[in-house]
């Protein structure tokens, strides 16, 4: 092996170590939970104020309450194949429950899960267990919160143009966008609700330009979903356009313009999944978080002076979902 080859290998190893450091593999210590070990594999950062953070917060909450004893996280696996490798590694390590938090990982489960019949896998957001006995699936009825916030957005809009920035038209992103649009049209049947799917979950620059385009089209209220919306929020903030968030509370990104956020609380369904696994049922069931089961919550920005009548519209819409079950 000559000097150049050695050097190339050294650089590659160095880079791979650095890349691996970038993914936050965090193993918590044992704090009860009957030795129950949970691993999360997620596409974006644990603190993305969006999709990944909602799950990480939920599992850590279960750890704090002693339902699980150990939590391991591999975040930032935006390349699905990398995520699949992490899922297989955690299963090999004997984790009791491996959460594949991203619809993009689903295609790998039919080949991974059968190799580990004693490990339970949870996959979302999706409504398909592939008929496997050790795969749960979970989804968020994000259209419910979308509809609630769409109704409020319609009431707040002066221009009657409310824009939405979407990632790729799948999963809970599509549900949310469709629900939000429907809500706006319930509030103002004649409103214009342009939707701009940028076809990326990670392109912040494109999300930023999509927001600029929507504002240019007259939108004075915006919403959007997935981790790339941070770019859209900064544009909305600069232009004084109101924003409705989803997945996690996005108020801290722009307290001046964020009206409210639909926040996912996966704790309830995760507790059920853990209970099932402990009881010997490793999969085969579908779960959904809704307003009725407490999995969806609208968190208002206390610093935004939301008119009482608009708040009432939102509260009534939430109550309607809760009453409907």
């Amino acid at each position: 092996m000559n000097r150049i080859t050695k050097l190339a290998i050294l650089i590659a190893v160095f880079a791979l170590v650095a890349a691996a450091c970038g993914s936050d593999s965090d193993s918590g210590s044992d704090s009860g939970g009957d030795g129950f070990r949970v691993a999360i594999v997620a596409p974006s950062a644990s603190n993305d104020l969006a999709f990944t953070q909602s799950m990480v917060d939920a599992v850590n909450s279960l750890k704090d309450s002693g339902v699980v004893s150990e939590v391991a996280i591999t975040d930032g696996t935006f390349v699905p194949e990398d995520g699949a490798t992490a899922i297989r590694d955690y299963a090999s390590d004997g984790y009791d429950l491996v959460i594949a938090h991203g619809s993009q990982y689903g295609a790998f489960l039919p080949e991974i899960a059968p190799d580990f019949p004693d490990v339970s896998f949870a996959w979302g957001t999706a409504a398909d267990t592939y008929g496997l006995p050790n795969v749960f699936s979970y989804e968020a009825a994000s259209d419910q919160g979308g509809r609630v916030m769409g109704i409020m957005a319609a009431a707040l809009s002066q221009s009657d143009v409310v824009g939405i920035v979407g990632p790729i038209e799948v999963g809970d992103a599509k549900l949310y966008v469709d629900g939000f649009k429907a809500g706006v049209l319930v509030g103002k049947p004649g409103a214009d609700v342009p939707v701009n799917y940028i076809d990326s979950f990670s392109d912040v620059a494109l999300a930023s330009e999509a927001a600029t385009s929507l504002i240019g089209a007259g939108a004075d209220v915006l919403s959007g979903t997935a981790q790339m919306v941070v770019g859209a929020i900064t544009v909305a903030k600069a232009d004084g356009v109101l924003w409705f968030g989803t997945q996690a509370n996005q108020t801290s990104l722009a307290p001046e313009i964020v009206v409210a956020s639909q926040v996912y609380h996966w704790e309830g369904i995760l507790e059920e999944i853990v209970s099932n696994v402990k009881g010997g049922t490793l999969g085969g069931e579908l779960y959904s978080i809704t307003f009725a089961n407490g999995g969806l919550v609208i968190e208002y920005n206390d610093d935004y002076p939301l008119p009482d009548d608009v708040r009432e519209l939102g509260d009534n819409a939430v109550k309607a979902f809760e009453d409907a079950g």
Partner: protein, 310 residues
Amino acid sequence: MGEVFTAAVLVAVVASAIRLAVPLLLASLGETFGQRSGVLNLGVDGIMLLGAFAGYYAVLKTGNVWLGLLAGAIVGLFLGLASSFIAVTLKAEQGISGIGVYLFGLGMSDLLFQKLVGTPIPINTFPKVDIPILSDIPYLGPMFFQHSTVVYLAFAAIPVSTFIINRTTFGMNIRAVGEYPEAADTLGVSVAGTRWAAETIGGTLAGIAGGVLAISLGIFQQNLTNGAGFIAIALVYFGAFTPLGIMWGALLFGAINALVLELKTLEIIPRDLSNLAAMAPAIITILALAVVARRIRAPAALTKPFTRGH
């Protein structure tokens, strides 16, 4: 369909295209210096990411966007020096070492962000600067003369780069060591020194490109560049290794992206074709690249390490 051809849409598309083009333009210009000297750096995206984080973090701590830009430049400079050491002094295989630099930048920028910042926090962005008189011209003003200072500086870098490459001794040395390093060496030109300098300029501009991206967006998150560094490398070929050609390439890429976004906002593109439309920038760029690449010739010594007497 008539909505597409309104002046407002044209203004929005052109202004957006210019904003989207700037990071690509800066990174491509930097890569041009390196490639004209015979060094291919596939690590541009990694340098951009670290430059983006450095710029973001400096603005977060100081509130000063120009210090942020400086931080991006300094990080880019050091990574350019590191790339030079690997590619020129150690004569490592440039493709592999470049990928190594990319992976290092991807991982390290995320690691630093997670450890030093954590949750995304918005920062100050570059203020818009309306050019007096020109910005008031109907249509042309909003298109070209109502941008931030860095946009104007990025486009000013095109004639400067062209001048350096074509009209200065340093530029002539860059071209010489990229085409025929043995001859340049015989004439007393330091091949290694020239390549170090060109590659370091490339790294610095890539770091600045990353800083411009993060500060313009006012935020940082993992993989912020989303592969922009690789597009920048492709644009060097598209632009036939000339700053002016690169500018047209960057503007074309930005314009297609901006047009697709605008058509989606106007709901002219059917939802079913949205995915196809999103691929349009990449597809058109590849096609254009294929056509242009047939007519250009890369520097003869590109990717070839130089050893005196070999």
